[in-house]
């Protein structure tokens, strides 16, 4: 398949790429840009560990062709921290034990970010709804819910 030149906006940087039209956003992020924090778990949108943000919304990057991301702002887990200063969600996930094997964590954290952007004070039910597309086999989800709640509190404190 012939390659085409596209420009993706990833983590605030314009990236020029030569990409076959059938390649997914997951593949291009992981293989071409070496942003391997975006995980590949199933390739068909079941597990959510390839979740990235597209214009702030959580999307399964395995269900998007890289071409479909042209003209949108993509944020991967690598783009969340500000240098060495982690995002409050990352801090809360670390502090409250919301991470075990860590394979779902990037997607889980990015889905949480999208959730809190739309709803800064979610109830437990809303947190669960917001993360219902991300599978975790290790934690039983409880500490993830607690971490999102904790981060929401911190972020409100920071913005007020």
């Amino acid at each position: 398949m012939s390659k085409h030149q596209i420009t993706l906006m990833v983590n605030g940087l314009e990236r020029e790429l030569l990409v076959e039209p059938n390649r997914t956003l997951t593949q291009v992020l992981r293989e071409d840009l070496r942003l391997t924090g975006t995980k590949h778990g199933c390739g068909i949108g079941d597990c959510g560990c390839c979740t990235v943000l597209m214009d702030g919304q959580a999307v399964n990057s395995c269900l998007l062709l890289a071409f479909e991301a042209v003209g949108h702002e993509i944020t991967t887990i690598e783009g969340l921290a500000d240098g060495n200063r982690l995002h409050p969600l990352q801090d809360s996930f670390i502090e409250l034990g919301a991470i075990q094997c860590g394979f779902c964590s990037p997607g889980m954290i990015l889905s949480s970010k999208a959730l809190l952007a739309n709803n800064p004070s979610p109830t437990e039910e809303e947190i669960r709804m917001g993360l219902s597309g991300n599978l975790c086999r290790c934690t039983g989800y409880q500490k993830i819910v607690e971490a999102v709640h904790d981060a929401a509190q911190k972020m409100k404190g920071a913005s007020s």
């Binding site: 992981r30 391997t36 390739g43 068909i44 079941d46 670390i94 094997c101 989800y141 409880q142």
Partner: protein, 784 residues
């Protein structure tokens, strides 16, 4: 607890969490090597067939293909998990035994080319009758899946402790029940993966998503014929294991042979579908149990018959068929127990070990029977259990010694924590509350191969510039927190701060560690870490004592400072020396006490590098009967859970409202991580109870090989779990610690089933709890 710890039992963040929260943590699929090739495997489309011919010529001719290997190109050495049942070869020789059995492998310049090459390999099959259930495989005249195993019986166990028939004759209530569970999948979010690198020194390095680098290393050496000194296995971060990653996979073996054939690194990944084809997860079990009690509720005798659907190869199954019997000996006093188990070969992917290995579904039936008997006796299920409970010091009829057992405390904790007394019998129709208990080994007492080997070694180096500690362990961090546990125990034993300990793990170069299975890491690796830290500490203190010209018994290290007992000692010369060595530096040591930084620097200056080493193996354990080794452990964790449910009477759907869980882990090394294991165990147990089931079509193909069709719990399915940590103080564990990772799943399914029966009166004899079956059960009861 009376013991005061500085680091243990707190809630320090995991060592690996920052890397995992930022995307920096590397898993196998995240790694690339210069000049790397991609591999792919040709797998059988038939469940059972003779392989008449394999023609690879078209694949070989495809541009970009660098190697094609079949059974002709690799040794036919048989391997497997247990030497007692080595029944696998790298590629099928003459015959395939399940849909997915390996026939050939290809290495090519990219994955697309490798997959295209695989599609060009032509195989001539002669289909054979596929045996898809134990009934078919055990039937008179059924073909043998393996010539060496007549009648398709891969493992058979017959054990009796006490005299069951005599005891049953003395019982007032005897009941017999049956239970059928379905095959399940581990559901680790990371699929299996491997990258093999064969260097010009003739050394093979395999990077594998495995729970057991040590066993993979041995299997690779045995099958490739390379000296074990030339085989290194490195486990990067692993995205969950739960059992199905605890043996050498076809990816491990094929990538190694392809790397050796091409001289280039070879990467191989399973798709999610292939994870299901590989299997190695929980067996489907049929149990029939006869339980006898006296009218005062005293348990007297249990007869347990089990038939396990094993799949095409043994994997861990020879141990599983023992565990399905031996793990009922506790936590209740049960003087007479008879077990007859058989593991049957079928033409499906092999089953193996999964969290709670062998014990989960045996307990699912047994704990239901306890509730049914309590009902017949008019006793509260909690009271029946407490009446028969084992305590610390008790030994089971099959010689398992409970060196610590906070079982009673666990039951009382969930009873009180769930307000059991206010709820049981007082809930509206459709709502129910149920409980169950369980126990599990804290590490298998013996390695899988017969050996006097140490089970864990740990080596640590105190940094020469003072103040830090580098720990090397071959233990497998698979998400359960092995590195964090090792760091915590090291810090406590050495007397330094958690942040001053750095752990490297998962490489066979770092030592021997049997891996992450049988809930063994905290007790066994933890022991070795403690010994290594104490070794280093003694060396440092000996040098310090000599320098200060005082007796070493007056010295200790705590919280990063040197504690000197007795008369005051002048530490000024040591401090002055340290400060002189660091002219121009900031942050010089201060205060009345010498710091660990100064002490460890001094020790280096006097002695050279300070390295500590520790090695652990359990003492000889268990009885003398055949199979006595399986189920033995230096310690046993135990737990109790109360599950509360709502059953929709119109649809049959079961909703879990709340779980109250208590687990005796001996001593929490890290409280947050103990809770995490408890919550993860409950989640997995609820998934298996409520909806998990690997399904097959009539040709032996997996019908639901995806995480959409094979449903594991989402965040919407799992309720809040109240985790209560019980600490009984295990004398055989490091700082009193024992397991939590696997034992935590034991009570979940039976507590769920007991709650369902409490809600709607339906006794569940088949998993999973699909709404159709529930509804049929509810309707059948209404008709009565």
């Amino acid at each position: 607890m009376s013991k005061q710890f500085d680091v243990i039992g707190k809630r320090f963040p995991r060592k690996d969490a920052p890397a995992k929260a930022t995307g920096q943590a590397q898993f196998v699929d995240d790694m690339v090597f210069p000049d790397m090739l991609w591999g792919a495997i040709l797998q059988s489309p038939h469940a059972h067939a003779r392989v008449l011919n394999v023609d690879t010529s078209k694949a070989q001719a495809l541009p970009g293909v660098k190697a094609v290997i079949t059974a002709k190109d690799v040794p036919g050495t048989k391997y497997g998990v247990s030497p007692a049942r080595y029944d696998e070869t790298v590629f099928a020789i003459d015959k395939v035994r399940y849909v997915g059995d390996e026939i050939a492998a290809v290495a090519a310049v990219d994955l697309e080319t490798a997959l295209e090459a695989v599609s060009l390999i032509e195989v001539e099959y002669e289909p054979l009758p596929a045996l898809l259930t134990p009934q078919e495989a055990l039937a008179e005249g059924a073909p043998w899946i393996h010539d060496e195993f007549p009648g398709n019986i891969g493992g058979e166990v017959h054990q009796e402790f006490g005299d069951v028939e005599k005891a049953l004759a003395q019982c007032d209530i005897i009941r017999t029940d049956t239970f059928q569970s379905k095959r399940q999948d581990g559901g680790a979010i990371e699929p299996h993966a491997a990258i093999a690198v064969y260097d010009l020194d003739g050394r093979l390095t395999l990077h594998s998503a495995t729970q057991v680098p040590h066993y993979v290393q041995r299997t690779l050496a045995m099958v490739t014929g390379l000296p074990i000194s030339k085989v290194r296995v490195i486990k990067p971060y692993v995205g969950g294991g739960f059992g199905p990653k605890s043996e050498a996979t076809p990816l491990d073996l094929c990538s190694s042979f392809l790397a050796m054939a091409t001289g280039r690194p070879v990467k191989m990944l399973y798709t999610r579908e292939q994870v299901f084809l590989h299997g190695r997860a929980r067996h489907g079990y049929f149990h029939e149990m006869t339980l006898g009690v006296k009218k005062d509720g005293t348990l007297l005798a249990l007869k347990n018959r089990c038939v396990m659907d094993g799949g095409a190869y043994s994997s861990f199954g020879i141990a599983t068929v023992y565990y399905a019997g031996s793990l009922l000996g506790a936590p209740y006093k049960l003087p007479n127990m008879k077990y007859d188990g058989v593991r049957v070969y079928t033409n499906k992917p092999a089953c193996g070990a999964q969290r709670g290995h062998g014990g989960v579904h045996a307990r699912a039936l047994f704990e239901q029977q306890l509730d049914l008997i309590a009902e017949e006796l008019g006793m509260d299920p909690v009271e029946l259990r407490l009446k028969n409970i084992m305590e610390t010091g008790d030994v089971t009829c099959n010689d398992l010694a409970m060196s610590s057992l906070g079982m009673k405390e666990c039951i009382e904790a969930v009873r009180d924590g769930s307000s059991w007394k206010n709820k049981r019998g007082k809930l509206p129709p459709g709502k129910g509350i149920g409980m169950a208990s369980g126990f599990f080994v804290s590490g298998a007492g013996y390695p899988i191969y017969r050996s006097e080997t140490y089970h864990s070694t740990v080596n640590l180096k105190v940094q020469e510039d003072g103040g830090g500690v580098e720990v090397l362990t071959a233990a497998a961090e698979i998400g359960q927190g092995a590195e964090t546990m090792v760091a915590t125990i090291t810090a406590e034993a050495l007397g330094v701060n958690y942040n001053d300990v750095h752990v490297q793990s998962g490489s066979t170069d770092f030592g021997v560690d049997l891996g992450a299975y049988s809930s063994r890491t905290t007790l066994m690796t933890g022991h070795a870490a403690k010994l290594a830290a104490e070794d280093a500490k003694q060396q440092i203190l000996a040098e310090l004592a000599a320098e200060l010209e005082i007796d070493v018994s007056r010295l200790d290290i705590k919280r990063g400072e040197v504690i000197i007992s007795g008369e005051p000692v002048d530490i000024t010369p040591i401090r002055t020396m340290y400060i002189k060595e660091h002219r121009g530096w900031n942050n010089m040591p201060e205060g009345d006490n010498l710091t660990f930084r100064e002490a460890s620097r001094l020790a280096f200056l006097r002695k050279g590098s300070i390295t500590g080493s520790g090695a652990y193996k359990p003492p000889p354990l268990g009885g003398k009967f055949k199979g006595a080794a399986v189920g033995t452990s230096p310690a046993y964790g135990c737990s109790a859970q109360v599950v509360e449910v709502t059953v929709d009477m119109e649809t049959g759907q079961v909703f879990v409202d709340k779980v109250t869980d208590a687990h005796d882990c001996g001593q929490a090394i890290n409280l947050t991580q103990v809770e995490g294991q408890m919550e993860g165990s409950v989640s997995m147990g609820l998934g298996e109870g409520l909806f998990e089931q690997v399904k097959f079509d009539a040709e032996g193909r997996v019908e639901n090989p995806s995480l959409g069709d094979y449903r594991i719990p989402t965040i919407m399915d799992i309720p809040n779990i109240q985790s209560l940590v019980i600490e009984s103080g295990e004398p055989n564990g490091p700082f009193g610690a024992k397991e939590v990772g696997e034992g935590g799943i034991m009570p979940t399914i039976p507590a769920l089933l007991n709650a369902v029966r409490n809600a709607v009166g339906v006794q569940v004899s088949e998993l999973p709890l699909i709404p159709e079956n529930m509804l049929l059960g509810i309707q059948a009861l209404k008709k009565k």
